[in-house]
């Protein structure tokens, strides 16, 4: 079986040595202050929002909208004139009224 070049132990060692030597090279340290100034620009961190805290914040955000909606609907229903003759509900109410009154006053023969 033909041996692989990349698996040759001497070559592998030479490559690994050359590669790890890269990690030992000297570097300047000015980048640290630049990093800190970038971090200060970002500012304090916000904690990761869990499910309930996200839910809570959403509820509070939606609360004024919900209140407004309830108010508008209440006004709408107060000002709405129900036309009993043409309204389906009115027809239903009239139909239900007859037997119930008869039953109530015990007028049935």
């Amino acid at each position: 079986m033909r041996s692989r070049i990349s698996e040759n132990e001497s070559l592998k060692t030479a490559f690994r040595d050359a590669y790890s030597a890269k990690g030992r090279e000297e570097t300047r340290h000015e980048w640290q202050s630049q990093t800190m100034s970038r971090i200060r620009q970002i500012g304090p961190l916000k904690p990761v929002a869990g499910f309930w805290s996200a839910f809570e914040s959403m509820v509070w955000r939606l609360a004024p909208v919900s209140c407004l909606l309830v108010l508008v609907l209440a006004l709408f229903f107060v000002n709405m004139e129900l036309d009993v003759d043409s309204d389906y509900l009115g027809t239903m109410a009239a139909e239900m009224e007859k037997p119930s009154l008869v039953e109530f006053f015990d007028l049935e023969g």
Binding site: A18, A21, T35, M36
Partner: protein, 200 residues
């Protein structure tokens, strides 16, 4: 015992930073800069080391609320640094900023010599390192960003598939498949170098 002390103080600093003390992060940089630089220097070209290290620390800062403290902080940081290096290469490949190097007869000769050596015969380190690095850089330039990272982590640094997967945030299967393919690619590239030398 000492590790516990280091770990607990890392966690203490993290708590301070999360509590709103941004300046406490400077201690994180001071404590881990050597570790971060060692990783970055191995993976990216010299002219991009500072920028990548800076980016890695900024990313670590932004990801700090996700640090659960279940493992060592340095391990958590390493994975951020490795992923930042990977992103550096992805960006470089996209913008076609990969330097093209060429190999000469000297490299082919060196390769032949090293292969012919017995494993215990260590080649002269200084002479050898230059050629090894040039061949390695030439081969790495021919690989994609992902293949490059896998080759470096598994083949050159000797990490296990599981460790490499954890560092890159990939699945074990993905790293395993890539690792196999990239070794095949490396084999082809090295054969090419060897044959070039014979052809001359």
């Amino acid at each position: 015992m000492q590790n516990d002390a280091v770990r607990s103080s890392d966690e203490e600093i993290v708590r301070q930073v999360l509590g709103g003390n941004v300046n406490a992060f400077e201690s994180v940089i001071l404590r881990h800069r050597v570790h971060v630089l060692t990783i970055v220097k191995k993976h990216v070209p010299e002219n991009a080391v500072e920028e990548t290290a800076q980016e890695a620390f900024v990313r670590a800062y932004q990801a700090l609320p996700t640090f659960k403290g279940t493992g060592a902080f340095s391990q958590w940081l390493s994975s951020i640094v490795v992923r930042t290096c990977y992103d550096y290469w992805r960006k470089a490949y996209r913008s076609q900023e990969i330097p093209i190097s060429a190999l000469t007869e000297r490299h082919s000769e060196w390769l032949e010599e090293v292969i012919a050596q017995m494993p215990e015969e260590a080649p002269d380190e200084r002479e050898s390192q230059m050629e090894a690095r040039e061949i390695l850089n030439w081969a790495l330039e021919k690989l994609s960003a992902g293949d490059r990272m896998v080759l470096e982590l598994v083949y050159l640094e000797g990490h296990s598939v599981q460790e490499a997967a954890k560092l890159l945030g990939w699945s074990k299967a993905n790293v395993k498949v890539r690792s196999f393919r990239v070794r095949m690619k490396l084999e082809k590239l090295l054969s090419k170098v060897k044959e070039q030398g014979r052809g001359r």
